[in-house]
């Protein structure tokens, strides 16, 4: 039907240092990803060992995809005559993995201003970044791109798939989460960070109050009346008059974070916007309490995801009480030094978080650690240290989908969900397994056999020849 899968990645992005030189030549040679076409009507993956994440694994079965959605899963699925069939016998098929918290894909991770709730990563996303190719290569089919942690209030994130030429094509869901950091950004201390956060929200209250007052004054003016009450009363009377267009960019997202409803002088006004959630970065254990208090004070606690640093495992009791979803640090082992004896104690963070019964998601480790960049490696580590296999798999698929409110679409292989599928050569939690194929919304987005960059990288002798500019 189609000549070849069009979304294969071509240039390996890893080991960028020496690849970069020939990369330039290669990209200009016209090997960039082609625009996405209409997905194939029907795709069937047959003979697969299916890990659906929800429900029991299927030893040998078929996944049938229709128009980008999963139509049927099971050992006995009738394959329509016109389906494009991929025989993946003996291979493992699992739902696409989700990177729930990353700033990669942005040109810079953080703006230099501390409080930027009006920003949206959509404006800074670069579809041509090699990061997205890497995502395909590593089996990640959805990325929540959100400003990094070096901020106070960072801006709006967005869930994207790693294919597409424009941000619009890439988008899976509009941004539903603002980034907030409790751990001080560079140059800040905690007192300043917290004062800035409080100021932001108090300023919002003040702004809305003044808007309400202004609305009331305008109304009187229209009625040719003189102002007859003090400011407080004017604010009360004016709060129902506030309209959505009165709220400027700077304050809109903040108001949405606080629930979208105007509150002035202690009373409720109109609900103007849909609420937003927040990814709140807590680098240290002490930040948890501050984050919880802030979120509760400003009514976004129910829409909060906590992004944890390694030390936060100490606050596991508080986390358990808060019962909010958490994103674990890339480095899963926390090392602490005893202040008197100098001994180093290690803690495996996911196990403690799992034991507390929290919903948690894993994220890839730092860019320079090849193994930890792989989400399935992170999950394998969890299994190694006592987290049940099911839970470890959920932590890279369904749990992040739930956090993002996308568990109706992503995170498992169930009929009706988006067809984000990854074909592994073996068990995904086996380090020798590799990603062979990736399907995103039914589109064959990646095929290892056609991954030119990977081939060039892995073929012998290339590293020498490619190091020289041509």
């Amino acid at each position: 039907m189609h000549g070849k899968p069009r979304y294969s990645a071509f240039v390996p992005a890893w080991l960028r240092g020496f690849v970069v030189t020939w990369l330039c030549g290669f990209v200009t040679a016209g090997a960039v990803a082609q625009p996405p076409a209409v997905p194939p009507e029907r795709v069937a993956l047959t003979g697969a060992r299916i890990i659906p994440v929800v429900g029991a694994p299927i030893a040998s079965g078929t996944v049938l995809v229709e128009r980008g959605k999963i139509a049927a899963v099971g050992p006995e699925v009738e394959i329509p005559y016109d389906a494009r069939v991929f025989d993946v016998s003996g291979k493992f098929v699992m739902p696409g993995m989700i990177d729930v918290h990353t700033a990669r894909g942005l040109d810079i991770p953080n703006e230099s201003r501390p409080v930027t709730p009006h920003l949206d990563v959509a404006d800074a996303l670069d579809p041509s970044q090699l990061f997205f190719e890497d995502c395909l290569r590593l089996g990640i089919t959805a990325v929540h791109v959100i400003p990094a942690n070096n901020t106070v209030i960072g801006g709006l994130g967005r869930v994207v798939r790693p294919i597409g030429l424009t941000v619009g094509e890439m988008t899976i869901a509009e941004g539903e989460f603002l980034k907030i950091a409790i751990t001080p950004r560079r140059g800040f201390d905690r007192m300043l960070q917290m004062a800035t956060l409080r100021e932001t929200f108090l300023e919002l209250d003040d702004y809305l109050a003044r808007v309400a007052e202004k609305r009331y004054e305008d109304k009187l003016k229209e009625e040719d009346k003189q102002i007859d009450v003090g400011p407080d009363e004017a604010r009360k009377r004016g709060r129902d008059l506030v309209r959505a267009e009165d709220v400027d960019d700077q304050h809109r997202n903040l108001l949405r974070l606080c629930g979208g409803q105007v509150r002035v002088a202690g009373g409720p006004g109109p609900k103007l916007f849909q609420p937003l959630g927040a990814f709140v970065y807590c680098g240290n254990a002490m930040d948890i309490a501050l984050a919880v208090r802030l979120a509760k004070d400003h009514a976004f606690f129910d829409r909060t995801v906590l992004v944890l640093g390694g030390e936060c495992h100490k606050a596991v009791a508080e986390l358990k009480q808060a019962a909010r979803p958490v994103v674990l640090p890339g480095d899963l082992t926390y090392r602490a030094t005893d202040p008197l004896t100098g001994e180093v104690h290690e803690t495996f963070v996911p196990k403690k978080i799992f034991d507390a019964g929290l919903l948690f998601a894993l994220v890839p480790g730092p860019d320079d650690s090849y193994a930890e960049r792989m989400l399935n490696y992170q999950a394998a580590q969890c299994v190694r240290y006592g987290v049940p296999r099911d839970e470890a798999l959920r932590a890279i698929t369904l749990n992040p989908a739930k956090m993002l409110g996308l568990d109706g679409r992503l995170g498992s292989i169930e009929p009706g969900k988006d067809a984000h599928l990854v074909v592994f050569s073996g068990d995904p939690l086996d380090f020798s397994s590799v990603v062979e194929q990736v399907f995103i919304d039914g589109i064959p987005a990646y095929d290892r056999a056609k991954d030119v960059r990977l081939q060039r990288l892995l073929s012998p002798g290339t590293s020498d020849s490619t190091a020289k500019p041509e």
């Binding site: 230099s112 201390d189 004062a195 702004y207 240290n284 086996d430």
Partner: protein, 1042 residues
Amino acid sequence: MTHATKPRARAAAVAADLPVGRSARKLVASLATGLVRVAFGFAVVGAAAHATGQLEGDRSAGSTQRSADPGRSFVLRAKAVYPVTPEQPLPIERGMIVVRDGRIAAVGRDLPLPPDLPVIELRDEVVCPGFVSAGGVLAEPHTGPESVSGAYRAADAFDTYDDYAEMLARGTTTVHLGPGEHRLVSGVGAVAKLAGPPEQRVMRSAADLTVTLGVFGPPPLFEPPFYASSDVPIEPARRQRPDSRLGQILELHERISAAARETGLSSGREDGSPGGVGVPPGGVGVPPAKFDIHLHAFNEAWLAGLPLRIQVRHAADIEAALQFLRRLEAGGAATRPAYLVGLTEIERVAEALDAIVGHPPRRASSGPTPHVDVPFVIRVERGYRAPGENIGGDPGALEPGLTTAAQLARLMPEARVALAGEAGDRQEDLRAAAILATRGGLSPERALAAITRVPAEILHMDDRVGSLAPGKDADFLVLTGPPLDINSFVRAAYVGGQLVFTAPQPRDSRRGAARPTAEPPPPLVIRAGTIWVGDGTVIRDGSLLIEDGKIQAVGQRVPHPPFARIIDARPDGFVVPGFIDAHGHLGLSGDQTVAAPDLPVHRSVGVAGREFLRVARAGVTTVLQAPYRTAANGGQMAAIKTYGRDRSELVAREVAGLKFTMRGQDPLTAVEALRKVFQTARKYDEDWKKYEAELAAWKASGGQPITKPAEARESVEQGRPDPVTGKWEYDVRGGPLSEPVSGTVVLKLTGTSIEGRMSDPTDGEELRVSGTLDGNEIMLEIEVDTPVGRPTIRATIDREDHAVGTVTVGGFALDFEATRVDKSAVEFRVSRKKRTKDGRPVPPKLDFNLEPFRPLLAGKIPAVVDVETGAQISVAAKLFLDELKLPLVLLGAEGAADVADRLVGRKPEAGAPPPTSAPAPEATVGVVVPREIRGTRLRRPYCPAADLSRRGIPIALQSDSEDGARDLPFMALFAVREGLGGDAALKALTIDAARMYKLDDRLGSLQPNRDGDVLIFHGHPFDAGSRLERVIVGGQEVPDEE
């Protein structure tokens, strides 16, 4: 009281568990760490193995539960409890604290013991409230630029999960958290505990408003941004903070009156805090164009009535602060609590004091002056850890000093004065601050209160911390000594009734892995009114340091290593070395075996039993253990300790003497036999010395043969009639042998070892045999190497000249029967090669019967001769002192008085032990007096101890029994009553006994490098009313009860 026994035992276990628990936790942690590291490499492999296996069930059992705190209710009894309440400023000796659910239920002396609570006994430690630091030690100034702000909250920056062990180790349990001292109003301070559940650590998140006077030349607020961009705009500079004292006060007043105006206009708040001046609605107050949280928060804090923390630097600041407070009060506002911080930095202490003290009365003329009760937090600790800056000839610079607090206290007896360290100084040591203040003249009671109760009052936390009274939090410290003793250490800290800090175990850094089995006991310092060192000196009001089981120092004031235990036995304590039983049988358990020189009696010591404990508790820390009966050629004695954790600690010296007996024998016959023994021994000793010299020469020459190789040496060895020696004919039958085999074996017995040769039953070749005789059991090994190992013979002499038993070869056992056909002493020639192929000298044959004689002949151990009559003593003295020139201990020696002249003048040289390099042994003599202290002589009552001691002969005491040694101190007391001086009795039990046995390099005195065997008496040990209070052996205290 009976009902409390069980919990108390449990508490003892709990208390004993503390360090063990810690080390166990460490062990587990390190194990886990190791596992993690090992496992790390296999993470994925393991995961894969797991993954390909079964799929696991859901995580229903995964969640953990926090266990309830079991340790928050207990009774603690200490040597002294410092409640530091206004009613009870003095310590309560043997005080008790009852803690229930983390709060203090009762404090006092002789309280009824609640039956349900465990009891922790701290015999040497004292308890005082956890220190309260008002100095803002954790403060790290905020980085915001505003000169007046209420938006910075110090509580935000407090890490509730941090481990503050370093500060807890210095006793600080509660701290003031400050937002910094760098702005006119830096922000809102807080008060927090340094330990306990993280969510409960912050006690008050908005405790005060921090005002700092006297900081001039503030850093510029406006700095142009680096590379201004669309993102980083150039903003106009905000208002600079006031740059003069006048400006500071003016600014404060302005802000305060602005806050008062704000009252009616609080933005977005229905319930704006009341208390300000009424402002007409819609009046003067105009909401600022741009919302300013810093003003807003300042107003909020001010209107909430937060206390003021005013930090001052100069005398004028104090003046200004006091005036400012006075005006506030005069202004009719509600009384606002305030306190001043940082008085010692002021340049003119006298003026400052003048300003404070003279303030109310002097200005009384200018109208009614409201009384200003302002507490002070004085930073007194600065500069004691490092030298201060040069102040040179500056006439205005006065030593800011230690005396400030004392002067203030003297001038204003009612003033509340707290002591603190530098802001932001995590090394702050409040105890040092209090000690420094006492040097400046502050009374110890006030100094202690100034780091506990007073700062708690100043911080308005006195309902919870700062003193030990019912209803308050159980925050207290366990110290090794009084809180204001410079040498005390915090051994443990409790917060909310929970043990949150214990002193780390000392690591044995100096001695390496000398004691692999047991951790070294913690360092121990003993202080006493009198220390009887044993070398003739007596130290009054001295102290003694024991570390790693050894005495490290003795003197008036010895070093106190970190976290050392302190036993304070002043003023009546009398410290002496542990007593020595110069001849006893402890540990033999009635074993009457006749001991030859090769019988290691010290092997009888394993784990110290109850009888050891009994003797140890009586103050006898060392027993010269001798067998009940010795062979004609002598028997070993060992020096054993009466308390220790294992054999290595119990056995002080394996061979401490050789015991011979002349008692009841004809002196001349007996001495001849002994002389023969010593001739053999001397030859043996010389052989070894020669070998050692040859070996040394061989080694020095680099392994070359020195003389002709393979020189044969022949010697004739002689045997004596005994049950074994002679020619035996034997039959072997059974096992795989089809018919009996017979042959002969020639044996020779030396001591308990047998050697000889036998004709091989198969080919008639001569084979060497060797073995031992144990009672009438013969154990022989035939020195022929077969594929199944060497055959052994085990036989019993069932009647004279007849033995039956078995021969074991490999797995077979053959019947063995032998008859002695010739029991005359047998001579046989022995020829041995003198050197091996490479020229290395061949060592002489090791003879365990003669081995113990070698140290004896070197003068390292004494010959202990059991004698009775004067004649026996004379011949013994002649042999050992005149001929052999060896150290001699006369055991019993009832007739010593008859021949005392032979012995006088031979007393051991006082001082150093014989040098090891010098071969010439020293002929010294001592007498171990009979166990009957009072005997008769010439039909008159006679006390040998008193008599010999008076004649100048060194004496020692013996128990001649096992745990009868416990009565040794009473025997000495009895001897004192018979005329032996108290000091002579002490010497007899300690240094003289040690010198006789050449043990004075380890025992018998309290000089450095001696064993830490110490007795603490109340009064002189041989005074009528004295009693033994504590016994310490090897640095470990012998427990009172089991």
